[in-house]
């Protein structure tokens, strides 16, 4: 009986394994191949070294993605908490409102910010009416971070929310009963219990943010290119050099992996990981 069950499990897992092989493993191998093998077929570390020259851009990408992630977390945490404590009927409506911007095309959303932030944009025009500005907002790092926060914040709210709704209200009442005010309740009970949500929220914002490309070009101008832009240029742009592109991608992947592994060390929770 037990053996049988194991067999069925293996069989049902098969399509998934094939999928993994075709769309995850093979591309990874190809990236590694291009990064280490020249067009002539020789193995080389040249491309990796060359990728190292772009350390500044790497650093900027990590920094801006980190800032955007932290801002997302700071904004999303109270939002998700309040959302999770609302009446069930209202919750789904509010959740829809959070998701709503995601239904709009990503480029469109970012274009909207361009028209808002530009020197002759909506915000500066309004400020001009009361005699202020114009402020330079477009083509700054701040604008890029703003674009990241705006685009990725739902990916922070959702995992946080989905962990928080599972926290039973009576557990929070118990904390109050035992002497915790609002803030202490959050610190001592809500935060530890929502740690898995915090971790997956950080992952889901940080990883796409660090490899962003269009946002930085549209809102950051030419001076704030990120790794994503660099990689894109190697494959599709004038700088056409797939080997270098693959090398940069590989370095980026390793970096993300290291950062995420370090992050995981803070996560003591051995309970179920939240997959969304």
């Amino acid at each position: 009986m037990k053996k049988n069950k194991g067999l069925i499990q293996k069989l049902t897992a098969a399509p998934y394994l094939v999928w993994m092989a075709v769309f995850v493993i093979v591309p990874l191998i190809m990236v590694a191949y291009f990064a280490f093998v020249t067009d002539g077929g020789e193995i080389t570390a040249e491309y990796i070294k060359e990728a190292g020259q772009y350390g500044g851009i790497f650093w900027r990408s990590v920094w801006m993605a980190a800032v955007a992630t932290v801002i997302c977390l700071i904004i999303s945490y109270p939002v998700a908490y309040i959302l999770s404590r609302m009446e069930v009927k209202i919750q789904s409506t509010m959740l829809m409102l959070v998701m709503l911007p995601m239904w709009m095309n990503f480029l469109l959303r970012t274009y909207a910010w361009m028209t808002l932030l530009g020197n002759e944009g909506v915000i500066n025009s309004l400020l001009g009416l009361i005699g202020l500005g114009p402020f330079k907002m477009l083509n700054t790092q701040g604008a890029v971070v703003l674009g990241m926060v705006y685009n990725y914040i739902p990916y922070m709210i959702l995992p946080l929310y989905s962990v928080m709704v599972k926290i039973d209200g009576s557990v929070l009442e118990a904390a109050q009963d035992l002497g915790c005010g609002r803030l202490k309740t959050v610190v001592r009970v809500v935060v530890p219990l929502s740690l898995p949500g915090i971790m997956s929220g950080i992952t889901m914002v940080f990883v796409p943010a660090i490899s962003t490309f269009v946002i930085s070009r549209m809102l950051g101008g030419g001076g704030n290119l990120l790794i994503g832009d660099l990689i894109e240029m190697q494959f599709l742009g004038n700088a056409y050099n797939p080997n270098l592109g693959a090398a940069i991608s590989l370095v980026l992947m390793v970096m993300v992996l290291i950062i995420m592994t370090v992050m995981r060390q803070f996560d003591t929770g051995d309970d179920e990981r939240v997959l969304l």
Binding site: D168, S170, V171, E173, A174, A175, Q176, D177, L178, G179, C180, G181, K184, R188, V189, P192, L193, G269
Partner: protein, 346 residues
Amino acid sequence: MENIVSLNDVAVTFDGETILNKINLDIRDKEFVTLLGPSGCGKTTTLRIIGGFLKPDSGDVMFEGKRINDLPPYKRNVNTVFQKYALFPHLNVFENIAFGLRVKKLSEDEIKTRVGEMLKLVNLSGFEKRNIQNLSGGQQQRVAIARALVNRPKVLLLDEPLGALDLKLRKEMQTELKNMQQSLEITFIYVTHDQEEALTMSDTVVVMKDGNILQVGAPVDIYNEPKNAFVADFIGESNILDGIMLRDRLVQFCGHEFECVDSGFGENTFVDVVIRPEDITLAPPENQKIKGIVRSVTFKGVHYEMVVDTADFSWLIHSTRAAQVDSEVGISFGPDDIHIMHKMEG
């Protein structure tokens, strides 16, 4: 003795539905008070008001003579054992119990001793490091009791704290809780819908129904002199019959007139007649007013429980001697076994 907690005209409605109907309740210091009533009668709601988790729509909640309607739970000298335990899933047994002490920033040594004492009290020594999720329902319940009691509150609210325990452990914990209450000199407000538990543990029993308090009194008084048929039935099984009080000390039911000891109901008044199963004796049918057929006999340990059907009523009878099923028996009781009660309004 002074009152430690008082509810004055406390009313609660949810969605237009009355949950508590202007209840008044005075609880004396160091008393063991039990709220007893059927499911949904408002017991938990009453506790939540005293604990501070719910504000009454009207009325006053008093604690040691001060109005505390607006005092949040964490400022009240009251702790709660929640109906569904509400333990912290991210903390082990020790840390769950230590939670309140840590919030109060007690020294590590003191926390260790006090939690240790509590663990011993609830029979969980050696479970310190255990994960909450891996405990049985009964063990979780005991952690919940320890977590509240370790704070030495003036008033402890317990919402069906023994509900998940098996009979033997339940009896043990009942004795334990009663001893704790007496030795720690804490006021216990205890919710249960088990009347036996209420009668054996409490100094005072509060019988509730549909958001009303029907009767407050010592267990003996409530048992012997229930105010109405509902209380009588809830506090112990009863035979409740429709009757007419013909005049003082004479009542008619089951088509016969019986002498009784009650008076003051007026003449020809509709009343409830309550006769306890253990007050009835079975007699030969010949010279009894009420005769019936024995439908069933169940052995209950100390006594037999029998159902005897007459023309218009099914009698519950407790006796140490069993009758023959399907035999005809007479039902006999004396004048002071007949309790006359006003019909409940509504």
